[in-house]
């Protein structure tokens, strides 16, 4: 980024920025003024910064939000909640079925595994609980810290509701 070496003038950059914004404290003003008198590089830097202010100053302040902005946001919020509620109602029976299936499968695996170990080596204690845990992991919902699209937003609502229950 910093392609040019400013020969120890770096410490004046934030003062120059303050100066441009009109926020330069009085005690720094003299220090900056005497440096500017002596340093052509900083005088040029200040000129460049001023030019930029003039250019970026062409951008207007943002307009006021439309009169229905708040209402539209709250409509999005309700729509997301509603959608989620519908999803939950739709999936609930299937979810129960899935859990039942998963449980049965885990149980079958435990038996098979235990049987296998017992058949090959009767001394070893079967690690059946480990198998159960592994199966259950498949159903753990991942944590969403910062949703990046609408689907993730909805997932996050679902997750939050789950936490509340």
């Amino acid at each position: 980024m910093s392609e040019q070496n400013m020969n120890g003038c770096e410490k004046f950059e934030s003062l120059l920025e303050d100066y441009l914004s009109g926020d330069l404290p009085r005690q720094d003003a003299e220090r900056l003024a005497s440096h500017l008198n002596a340093c052509g590089d900083c005088r040029q830097a200040l000129e460049e910064a001023r030019l930029s202010s003039r250019l970026v100053g062409l951008f207007d302040r943002a307009e006021e939000p439309g009169p229905s902005f708040t209402r539209l946001v709250m409509a999005r919020v309700s729509a997301a909640e509603l959608w989620l509620q519908q999803q939950k109602n739709f999936w609930r029976p299937l979810e129960a079925l899935a859990w039942r299936l998963a449980f049965s499968a885990a149980l079958v695996l435990v038996f098979l595994f235990a049987y296998e170990i017992k058949a090959s080596n009767p001394e070893v204690v079967p690690q059946a609980s480990g198998v159960l845990v592994q199966r259950a992991d498949t159903f753990v919902t991942p944590a969403y810290n910062s949703p990046t699209n609408t689907d993730e937003v909805l997932m996050a609502i679902a997750e939050r509701d789950h936490e509340r229950q």
Binding site: E17, L20, V56, F59, E64, F69, S146
Partner: protein, 218 residues
């Protein structure tokens, strides 16, 4: 409105919150706590309070009128969804602006919104136009001319990093304080100042290179 007592209670709380805020008492923290308990009217009040500034951030970064409100609404939806995780350690506005900045950068990345390619040269007329504006020191003239000049500045800004461009536009055009910008980007105030100053110089260098080309360098 409805027959659900819980909702009635919620809107009663909201009325109380709103009247307290008129008296200047309910601060954002109270509203956040209420919203975390599921009082949607408290969240609505937060939206009302902060929408103007969120829109200022979005329009500063996106600079495309048609998507600004849409993105800002999405920002508030995300804030609503993740408000449970907001720990009140910073100001609500700081937290909200962070979400806003990320949402905007995401949007730019996904849509690849770089409508004004910086590869393309400015036309002779554009060069003359912006040179005249800079050297005259006068106002830009009619809205059409201003819009044309803004388009040129957009191009000159387009090879700054997202972060530098964001800082510069929010500070210079939308009037955000360096403290606010630091909060949004997770940078300390001095770093923001230094980077702002360098971003300004970079823009000026782009100007010299692309507009001042053909002129003799002093």
């Amino acid at each position: 409105m409805d027959n659900v007592p819980k909702d009635v209670a919620a809107s009663a709380t909201a009325v109380a919150l709103t009247s307290r805020s008129r008296a200047g008492k309910a601060d954002d923290r109270d509203l956040v706590r209420q919203a975390q308990k599921g009082v949607s009217a408290a969240f609505e009040e937060l939206v009302r309070r902060h929408q103007q500034r969120v829109i200022a951030v979005v329009s500063g970064i996106l600079r495309r009128r048609e998507d600004i409100e849409d993105v800002a609404q999405q920002v508030f939806l995300k804030a609503y969804v993740s408000i449970q995780r907001f720990d009140l350690r910073s100001a609500f506005s700081t937290w909200l602006y962070k979400i806003t900045v990320n949402e905007c950068w995401d949007y730019l990345r996904k849509k690849k919104v770089r409508p004004l390619s910086y590869e393309a040269d400015l036309s002779e007329e554009q060069v003359r136009h912006v040179e005249q504006f800079v050297s005259s020191g006068a106002d830009a003239g009619n809205p059409g001319e201003r819009a044309e000049l803004r388009e040129i500045v957009d191009r000159l800004l387009s090879d700054l990093t997202d972060e530098d461009r964001t800082m510069l536009v929010l500070k210079e055009a939308q009037g955000f304080a360096v403290e606010e910008i630091g909060g949004m980007l997770g940078l300390n105030v001095n770093t923001v100042k230094v980077r702002l100053f360098r971003a300004r110089r970079r823009l000026a260098k782009n100007y010299r290179r692309r507009v001042g080309h053909g002129r003799k360098e002093k």
